[in-house]
């Protein structure tokens, strides 16, 4: 298991290539990568991600540990950035490795649902018209109820 909370960029291609390589008990690898995208109305100049140093690492590690307890996983990876990002930048990624695809898919979705609503990050969108904090969405909170 590896958890990295960092300001700097990461290379999802290299990360997924390294992840779970050389293991003979892995049949399925799922990755999710989150990307800063234009939100529509006003063109996005930047996405600023604030976090809670100390708690962030503990909360993300606890979420990853819970995924390992619930599913039969060979390995778990979570990388999440903070600071100022622009459109097209990778915000975060998770990867799960398992014998079977069902475990790998479900664990990756679980990780994403919990990282969305239970890890102490706050997004702020900066556009030409000003900056605003991204509101938590009801559907993200609702997504937790399926686990």
């Amino acid at each position: 298991m590896r958890v990295a909370i960092q300001a700097g960029p990461f290379d999802p291609g290299r990360e997924s290539a390294v992840f779970a390589s050389g293991r003979k008990d892995v049949g399925a690898i799922v990755t999710f990568t989150g990307v800063v995208r234009d939100t529509g109305d006003a063109s996005l100049e930047a996405m600023e991600i604030e976090h809670y140093p100390g708690m962030t690492e503990a909360a993300v590690t606890a979420i990853a540990q819970e995924a390992q307890d619930r599913w039969s996983l060979a390995d778990v990876l979570v990388i999440h950035r903070h600071g100022r990002l622009v459109t097209g930048d990778m915000i975060m990624m998770v990867a799960t490795a398992a014998r079977h695809r069902k475990d790998a898919f479900e664990a990756a979705e679980y990780l994403m649902d919990y990282l969305k609503s239970r890890a102490p990050f706050w997004k702020r969108e900066v556009t030409a018209e000003g900056a605003s904090w991204v509101d938590a969405r009801d559907e993200d909170e609702d997504a937790l109820s399926r686990w």
Partner: protein, 81 residues
């Protein structure tokens, strides 16, 4: 006690953290005490349903007791991922 604020709570209160000397028994009591201090706290804490609280870096709730607690953080619902 160390009190931390994040995102728009930090912006409304105007600082990211402060040391507070309090005898509040619960988080809710601490909030009431802060609201009584200055307008900016009253504004930041006007709708508790829009706020989350962590005690010693673990998510908690407003009924939680503060005895022995070193760090309390207030912030809006998280938007990671």
């Amino acid at each position: 006690m160390n009190v931390l604020y994040f995102a728009w709570v930090r912006e409304r209160i105007g600082l990211p953290r402060e040391e507070i000397d309090t005898s509040a028994a619960t988080v809710a009591d601490l909030v009431e005490e802060l609201k009584g201090r200055e307008e900016r706290y009253a504004v930041a804490f006007s709708d508790l349903s829009a706020l989350r609280v962590a005690i010693d870096q673990e998510l908690s709730d407003f009924d939680a007791k503060l005895e022995g607690v070193r760090e309390v953080a207030f912030f809006p619902p998280m938007t990671g991922g």
